[in-house]
Symmetry: C2
Subunit: 453 residues, 2 copies
Amino acid sequence: MVNTGEKQSPHHVVIVGGGFGGLYAAKSLAGASVKVTLIDKRNFHLFQPLLYQVATGALSPADISSPLRSVLSKNKNTKVLLGEVNDIDPQAQKVFMGDEEIDYDSLILATGAKHSYFGKDDWEEFAPGLKTVEDAIQMRHRIFMAFEAAEKETDPEKRSRWLTFVIVGGGPTGVELAGAIAELAYRTLKEDFRNINTSETRVLLLEGLDRILPPFAAELSREAEISLSKLGVTVKPKALVTNIEDDIVTIKQGDEVTQIGAKTVLWAAGVKASPLGKVLAERTGVECDRAGRVIVEPDLSIKGYPNIFVIGDLAHFAHQNGKPLPGVAPVAMQQGEYVASVIKQKLNTQPLARFHYIDRGSLAVIGQNSAVVDLGFIKFTGFVAWLFWLLIHIYFLIEFDNKLLVMIQWGWNYFTHNRRARLITGKESLQNIASENSDNFYVKGKNTQAISV
Amino acid sequence: MVNTGEKQSPHHVVIVGGGFGGLYAAKSLAGASVKVTLIDKRNFHLFQPLLYQVATGALSPADISSPLRSVLSKNKNTKVLLGEVNDIDPQAQKVFMGDEEIDYDSLILATGAKHSYFGKDDWEEFAPGLKTVEDAIQMRHRIFMAFEAAEKETDPEKRSRWLTFVIVGGGPTGVELAGAIAELAYRTLKEDFRNINTSETRVLLLEGLDRILPPFAAELSREAEISLSKLGVTVKPKALVTNIEDDIVTIKQGDEVTQIGAKTVLWAAGVKASPLGKVLAERTGVECDRAGRVIVEPDLSIKGYPNIFVIGDLAHFAHQNGKPLPGVAPVAMQQGEYVASVIKQKLNTQPLARFHYIDRGSLAVIGQNSAVVDLGFIKFTGFVAWLFWLLIHIYFLIEFDNKLLVMIQWGWNYFTHNRRARLITGKESLQNIASENSDNFYVKGKNTQAISV
């Protein structure tokens, strides 16, 4: 469609998903002569890289969320709709939210991914993952409730299970969670209990491969492991989880099978793409990879449909070096901006360049004063890496919403070792801890859907 | 029991409830030669006077909560227990949490109050109250979801119902809620929607008596009403609510019956004491008033049991001027401190003074730059009153936990008119808004317990 300058209904871009990909696409279309509709099932953008800080009581959900309407209020060509897209008609150029339908000229799908249990969906009950605000609140609930239950437990064996935390998956999220829980147990909560000694807490980090942080250079993985050990985390590489039950995790390292008694198991291992990818595949015949990601063309459109784009964690883009791009925020942001420019260029009949991801490096935080940074041309660890991590995150946090508060809160936590957001909330599950038979209150809690706040 | 200085098990004070009363009692017993156990079903103290700011998206729950263990971590004679006391044996001097029992020498009950619908419990579904963090999150959900639903609604009559907010009860909470919703609609959200004009929002404040803020002097009620009108709130005095349904509130003013079409009704009218009061009455024969509050002696103990004390919103203390003391934080704090000193004095066989409440005045905030303050000897309104309100709240907030952040957040909101904590969360209820038949999604949301975060 060519912008002829004549009076006509403007080109309508529908963006599904307000994560990094969708939001950057919308922001990049701000001044363009298009009409934009951003659809999300949430009214806020979530800064997922910091979700582990909500899960461990350092920040509140609102600290890492920005209302989508407020972020886009100045974009007068943009409308935000709260709703969940569950179907697409690529021939009629429509998306559906239940009975409601919306026409599009260009469609950008950016609905991301959720955690995956590699087919062992029954593990979810015992080992929650971390993708949404609700996930983080449930994790926070479990972590803090575990210390409360240990404080009440008189049987030493059961008490030790309450004080054992197993994190499955040694990627950045797993490393960050393990480090944060260790700091919590050995520092923040040290003076708070009377019956238990929180320094008896065990934090185990399991990784299936031979080292943690596999996307980083090997020397950084080693540095990270040393830093985690100093914090008190036991790192177990080459550890395959073969079973997760109520309070036992079974792992296999080589031929050795070990059972770990642990009440709190946190899942930071696999992800799978949002179900909208499969729907798109059914409607268009496009292929998905094993994780459900949509295989995209060099310009991020899909085969046969040059006006449908898939970006971020939902996309499988392997045109750079044969390997699909990783599911990280910078990929999604760059893809969002790229697709916005493709649409603008098409309207002006300009030639297109294919998408090229500029990898500026990887970073992961381990604990206070400790992080690993791999920028390719330079690698560094320790305090400087931690400062670098801090600055990068503050930069991106304040980009669309002034998150000065997060910075102040971090400053405060840094000097006091305190964590303010340690609320255990949700009506039903709390009452169960009062009973001596507290072993299975998570199960009860789960049935009554008592997670909250 | 006299402290003879001989080696013996120390006097055990059990405090039930970590609100203002219980926490001040515990803090006052810090250095005393007693053992203290504080039991609460939550792991945090909630600064209830600011709960309306969570309900209207200005603060996060953690901003007004302090972990009880952290507040009391320096009190080495004090133990915190997470649990709910559901029975008392005053003869055996025990309290029960399910099967668990705890012996006491002195007992302080401070479990507070919850909202009450004067026997019309079916109204709760349509008109939630504001006592807990979950209540505030549910209110926040309803308020922000109403604007989202209005944005989607094409029928003008239905849209107007989504944009009508009715607050029942013209006490401080009702006034604060009404003012905050008006500021939200007319200021914060002004630029955020494309189909609706949020300045068409109607905010109605209903009060059964002839003026709002009845505990204040009449001229302050008048000033508050003028300030609310300027903000855009319609105040309806002498308005009795006779029915609340899904989207209709029926009121009676004199002989006139009016039906108001409103999707969002918030309850700020009545409270009743926590059920532990009734349990105590059954076990000891002590009397309760109509609101379920325990009638206490001049020293806040109960008749026949000099070692059982009832304080705060759970207590009915009418020894000062015949009228029971109001259910406000200063009463609870002073009673907590008083009971702590009674217990210490008893142990030292010192004479006791009866409890005397020092009323330092009442204050309520109406909106930005506007509040009413009644100190008895002086009354003032407007900006100076608002500053005074701010200082008092900051003073008490930082007393046990450094809540510098709240101050900074307020500063930020003040200059930007923004409200950061505008998250709509909870999985199930959100999906329903996508369907055109969005009229009854609250009911669905309620059934699936989808409130959270």
